[in-house]
Amino acid sequence: MRGAKSAKWVAGAIVVALSATACGGSDSGDTDAKEKGKPAGYVSIDVGEPQKPLIPADTNETLGSYVIQSLFTQLIDFDADGGIVYTNAESIETKDSKTWTVKLKKGWKFHNGEAVTSESYINAWNWYANTKNKQQNAFWFEDIKGYEDVHPAKGDPKADKMSGLKAVDDTTFTIELSKPVPYFQYKLGYTTWAPLPKSFYADPKAFGQKPVGNGPYIFEKWDHKKLIQVKANPDYQGPNKAQNKGVLFKNYATVEAAYKDLLSGNLDMIRQIGPKDLPKYKADLGDRAIDQEYAAIQSLVPTFYSKTFKDIDPKVLQGLSMAIDRDTITTTVLNKTRTPATSFTPKGVQGNQVLDTDVFKYNPTKAKKLVTEGGGVPGNKIWIQYNADGGHKEWVTAVCESIRNATGVECLPDAKPDFQTDLEARDNDQVKSFYRGGWVADYPLNVNFMRELYGTTAEANNGKFSNKEIDAAFKKGDNAKTLEESIKLYQDAEKMVLEKMPAIPLWQYRTNGGHSEAVDNVEVDFHGDYQLTGVTVKK
């Protein structure tokens, strides 16, 4: 007996040893899923713990959006050039840009079998917009007539329905806006506009932990701070049907750790390579490296209430812009993770244009000349505020160096310990001269980079820029008859913006990621996110 028992132990030890080595074996040749806990045919990506429960209108950060996008399908989506692709909608039509008629595709179902109808959309949007429900993205519904009733500036809502939303029949409904918005259908592509099944209203809190959507993937499990697992929806009828069997969203403590797992074959896709691995990731990954720009812009935003920039001559700002050597900084300090900006809008959005100007080109002599002509910087000193927890220190220092050398204006980095503190200073108008601004397209249209940032009343206009002519130009764009005309008018407005310089665009972001040998067809959308539905597993 004794002998038998110890033999068993030895056998057990061998099994343990074998399984221990199996997961550490080399990653060439064998393409079967060797990743622990990953069902066959699934793909994995480093998407960490979403900040909030998974409710479409309460999610505005990248991680949560990734999961929401896989579970829900809105009326429309966008292609790589920012063009509209109809997903759940059959058509969205308008005659006056004020009343929009939406026809849904027939036969769509939520994952629980409930049909997706006009009511699924209308009730969801009413719920999202209601003040009482405290949804982060409630403001997205502000164009709709009756928004003030469900979301007054102060106090309790007067109604629980927006009067602008009316169901015509099961698959047709109309949206009436409080004023014409020619590009309204573009907004509908944002994840917030997703429909909700009836089961949601019974217990929104439970739904947030176990969402039921109408999208290409069905929710399987959420193991907090570890992973979220979704499986392909076999009955999905949209154009973006999943080409894999499911997705694992895995949480990593650091990007470096995720990269190591990618190299050792324990992760299929990495969204962003950490600074430490950037210099060598292309050599490591070869054609599996992903390097593509997306619709987001980083800029220096002057605060027009500060001592430095109060009533400043825009020439000074143009001069400062020309004092920044974007090409050198993006290739050296930033390791080619950004593309120098050439306008106020990024490539990949509709209406992006080449501005006929040299304001974004490095020219130290002209920079100095413009700054002097404009009367110089008061105090001859500027600060650039940034958050020290976001990896910005290096480029801010380099930009300052560039400005100082070219114009002789003293430039100092003004570090705030983290993003929260940075935001607080911006909200309370305490920025000394510039702050670091970053803006990712909500919808791929130049409007999103103009009106939302530089309109006098725009909420994200923390620089407190205000110019009547530019406001009027934006208004003209909003009143355009057609989308094309609106884009055109906003392009004209951008040329006026260039004369006033409410921000100094620096560069456009790039996605620097990669994928493992086990998967293929990894594409990036205009947000810089991977299109998970198209990813295929290599056989």
Binding site: K36, Q51, D223, A253, A257, S264, D418, Q420, E459, A460
Partner: protein, 309 residues
């Protein structure tokens, strides 16, 4: 003995309250608003933020918030996270088991290897063997843990392929070996040096000469007489060390993707999740207090001359 333990346990209450108050006040004093930050650079609705703060009780003055927190704590409620709405107790029960496992691994490694090296060196003090081991421990002390971590990871995971570079979310024992060795190696060096000095000194003590003169076997002389007396400084060190290990190690956890206490506190601090930080730090304080109590009790076991009343 019983009274002593009871007194020590009672003393923990003021320390506990004091430390929670301190951490709570520090979180309150930090600039930056976690509720506002949820919106990021997007549009914010001040009315909505005010409403959310009111619901979370974050609009109250510090003393009121603290009393609410303590009140809930005594009912076993650690509070909820601001962003995710998850109970802090869940966060703690996710993170602590992993850290405890890692700490025990590292601790066992430290104790076994450290004390063995110490005795081995101390018995033959000032010989080549002793000097060699001293140099080895010196090297371990002077290498920062992240260097050692990356080095071992590179060697064992990427060159030899024996282990996975990262600890997966299950944190299986096999995966924790490498991080445990890295985590334990610094303490190992200290333990080895402490043991060595202590052993070398006690070898010359009177009771040792007596024991040898009595004709006791060498194993008993070293194993009982020498070891018991030599271990007092080592045990003191190990006690606080265990507390430190259980408090999480942000650097090592980061290198090996161990999602334990260190990572949890770091994340919570970054997102200004006050209740989470206070909850975890309080638990770490309690762990320290208990560890030091156990050390004090062990003194009596090791040295019969020490008595507690």
């Amino acid at each position: 003995m019983g009274r002593y333990v009871a007194r020590r346990l009672l003393q923990m209450i003021p320390v506990f309250i004091g430390s929670t108050l301190l951490v709570f006040a520090m979180m309150y004093a930090l600039p930056g608003d976690p509720v506002r930050a949820l919106a990021g650079e997007q549009t914010v609705d001040p009315a909505q933020i005010a409403q959310m703060k009111k619901d979370l009780g974050l609009d109250l003055p510090l003393w009121h918030q603290y009393l609410n927190y303590l009140g809930n704590l005594f009912q076993g409620d650690f509070g909820t996270q601001i962003a995710s709405g998850r109970p802090v107790a869940d966060i703690i029960s996710d993170a602590f088991p992993i850290t405890i496992r890692l700490a025990l691994f590292a601790f066992t490694f430290t104790v076994l290897v450290g004390i063995s090296i110490g005795i081995f060196a101390g018995l033959k003090a000032d010989t080549l063997r002793d000097r060699g081991l001293l140099v080895l421990t010196l090297v371990l002390i002077s290498i920062p843990s992240f260097v050692l971590g990356y080095l071992l990871q590179y060697f064992f995971a990427f060159q030899l392929g024996w282990v996975d570079p990262n600890v997966s979310t299950e944190a299986a024992p096999g995966e924790l070996l490498l991080p445990a060795v890295v985590l334990g190696s610094l303490s190992l060096a200290y333990v080895a040096r402490l043991t060595r000095t202590s052993v070398a000194e006690n070898l010359r003590a009177d009771y040792m000469r007596t024991a040898v003169a009595k004709g006791l076997p060498r194993r008993r002389v070293i194993g009982v007489h020498l070891m018991r007396n030599s271990l007092i400084p080592v045990v003191t060190f190990l006690g606080t060390d265990l507390g430190a290990l259980l408090g999480g190690a942000v650097v090592t956890e980061g290198i090996f993707n161990v999602q334990g206490v260190g990572y949890a506190v770091f994340e919570a601090l970054r997102h200004r999740e006050g209740a989470t930080v206070v909850g975890i730090v309080t638990l770490i304080v309690v762990v320290y207090l208990v560890a030091s109590l156990i050390v004090d009790l062990l003194y009596a076991v090791l040295d019969p001359r020490i008595r507690y009343a």
